[in-house]
């Protein structure tokens, strides 16, 4: 874990309202793994007070990439950084995806900005595994496909691809692949992860054996395990919470209760 100030190289708007920030940070680039995150200080002083957590979106040589939209004050400030401005980064944080494991087909499922961690995961898996992806959003303009391989789209209003949510699409399509050894990697809103979790459990009850890792979110104060601010219910012990920042943000779907 490092705390380091690194310069912005470039900010691009990959689609309306979705920003990709390239930061030169060889130290972070060297260490970080897909599914891990960074806790970013968006301003010099203490306004806003807390750091903001962002998934590592991609890594290319010495550069790291963040993907975000303008959500509130913090992301607004971040989107105003100019080339050369220093950004204070704390990370790499948390446990990322376990992508070395034994599987034939990787399934990416991304809801909205849940697309953020996949470019890096794709970079690590390509040429090694087969990958199919499902990306979803309320409407066409909210679907993010940036560096996501082999994708099908679901939109709730039917403005692009399958009409419905991305988990319904997944359920429909996964049937064609159930003979393979499947590992699902998912990131998105809680509701989506919950639906996915139910879906996977159902399939596994039918005797299939899908592995599924989900990347979860929570308000955070520290991001590295000292504040106890980011609990998620442990599925195996009703008296225990996992910490999303330290034990996660990626969990096996069987280990947590959403």
């Amino acid at each position: 874990m490092l705390i380091i100030s690194s310069p912005v190289v470039e900010l691009s708007e990959i689609q309306k309202g979705i920003f990709l920030q390239k930061i030169k940070s060889p130290e972070i680039a060297k260490e970080i793994l897909p599914g891990q995150f960074l806790n970013i200080k968006v301003s010099e002083g203490f306004s806003p007070l807390l750091r903001r957590p962002f998934s590592i979106c991609d890594v290319e040589d010495d550069n790291i990439f963040l993907m975000f939209n303008i959500f509130g004050e913090g992301t607004r400030i971040l989107a105003c950084k100019h080339k050369g401005d220093l950004i204070n980064i704390l990370g790499p944080l948390g446990k990322g995806f376990n992508f070395d494991a034994d599987f034939d087909l990787a399934v990416f499922i991304a809801g909205g900005l849940g697309a953020a961690p996949f470019p890096f995961l794709f970079r690590k898996l390509k040429n090694q595994k087969n990958i199919i992806s499902f990306v979803g959003g309320k409407t066409k303009s909210e679907v993010i496909k940036y560096n996501i391989p082999n994708y099908s789209v679901a939109t709730e209003d039917g403005s692009e691809g399958f009409k419905g949510n991305v988990i319904e699409l997944f359920e429909q399509e996964i049937k064609n692949h159930l003979s393979k050894k499947i590992k699902i990697f998912a990131c998105g809103p809680n509701g989506m992860l919950k639906a996915l979790s139910d879906s996977v459990k159902k399939l596994n009850n039918f005797g299939y054996n899908l592995t599924c890792e989900i990347s979860t979110e929570s308000a955070m104060a520290c991001g590295f395990g000292i504040c106890q601010g980011c609990p998620i219910q442990d599925a195996n012990n009703p008296d225990h919470y996992h910490l999303i920042c330290k034990d996660g943000p990626v969990f096996n779907v069987n280990d947590v209760v959403l």
């Binding site: 874990m1 705390i3 200080k41 203490f46 306004s47 806003p48 007070l49 807390l50 750091r51 704390l90 929570s218 308000a219 955070m220 104060a221 520290c222 991001g223 590295f224 395990g225 000292i226 504040c227 106890q228 601010g229 980011c230 609990p231 998620i232 008296d239 225990h240 919470y241 330290k246």
Partner: protein, 306 residues
């Protein structure tokens, strides 16, 4: 480099410098040790420990506010047994005083906790948390009740010879009355302040942002209040005060010492910059050096009110 004595004393307890890390903002030290050498600190105050493990409140536990944050952790902690078996051995490796913070929902529980921990050599002092705003039993029910705070102090004092610190609630009219009763019942020092009760609501759902509804406000927003509480105590009670609330840099520490703090605690700052103590120590050194203050402890209560 001049030699400046940064050490301070809290009762029998000598600290190499006035910087303590506040309970609940440093866990049990292990994560912080990834960022700094714990040995540079004046001391570490562990997350409130209760007799049994506590799961803590449901999410959401954290809300950011203007220059502050609300937390409603609900004293989530590993409990006495795991603390002794798993956490103390790690802390024992360091040459830094460990102050064990204790939370409880009855006088007996406080006493039992302190008794069970008193023989641990690693623990150099106890900080009794009578002021957590985020739990139903104990917490403010105790912290805002003068008689109860007196009793807790008296009973805990009876079972330990180690330095005894009572952590006071700011959610009272006159905190000095509480400091006074602590002193009368044998406390060696008081910590001021714990968090202030606050809340925040989502205007779309009309629900509280914290599952616990109320939370404790910390961060720079509360600094002026914390300073006033420390000064109020210093003006009327002769007891060492550990200042805490909104400290973000070395200047804030000097300000707390001037109004009466013998030592201070860094809280919320640890979340934002776990390495802060390194630059803060330099700042303290330079401030003293430039003014020929040989011992930083001279600053305590050095206000000039005219």
């Amino acid at each position: 480099m001049k030699t400046i004595d940064l050490s301070v004393k809290i009762g029998k307890l000598k600290l190499k410098n006035p910087i303590l890390l506040a309970s609940g903002t440093v866990g049990y030290g292990n994560e912080m040790s990834d960022f700094i050498d714990l040995n540079i600190l004046g001391g570490i105050i562990t997350k409130s420990i209760s007799l049994k493990p506590r799961k803590g409140n449901k999410p959401q536990r954290i809300v950011e506010t203007s220059a502050g944050m609300l937390n409603a952790i609900g004293l989530a902690n590993v409990g006495l047994e795991e603390f002794i078996n798993e956490k103390i051995p790690f802390l024992a490796k360091y040459d830094v005083p460990i102050i064990c913070n204790i939370a409880a929902s009855s006088i007996e529980e406080y006493v039992e906790c302190v008794k069970s921990l008193d023989s641990e050599n690693t623990i150099k002092a106890f900080e009794i948390n009578v002021s957590c705003p985020n739990v139903k039993e104990g917490g403010l029910q105790f912290g805002n009740n003068l008689t109860m705070v007196g009793k807790i102090t008296e009973r805990v004092r009876a079972v330990t010879d180690k330095t005894l610190i009572i952590k006071l609630s700011p959610n009272v009219s006159y905190i000095s009355e509480f400091a006074k009763i602590c002193k009368e019942n044998g406390a060696d020092a008081v910590s001021a302040i714990n968090t202030l009760v606050g809340t925040a609501f989502n205007i779309n759902t009309r629900k509280p942002k914290l599952s616990n509804i109320f939370g404790g406000l910390s961060g720079p927003a509360i600094k002026p209040i914390a300073l006033a509480k420390v000064l109020e105590i210093h003006l009327s009670v002769d007891i060492p005060i550990i200042g805490v609330g909104g400290i973000m840099n070395w200047q804030d520490i000097i300000e707390f010492m001037i109004v009466g703090a013998a030592a201070i605690q860094l809280g919320t700052l640890n979340f934002i910059d776990p390495t802060a103590s390194v630059s803060i120590l330099k700042g303290l050194y330079n401030y003293c050096s430039e003014r020929n203050i040989e011992s930083i402890s001279k600053l305590t209560g050095s206000y000039i009110l005219e």
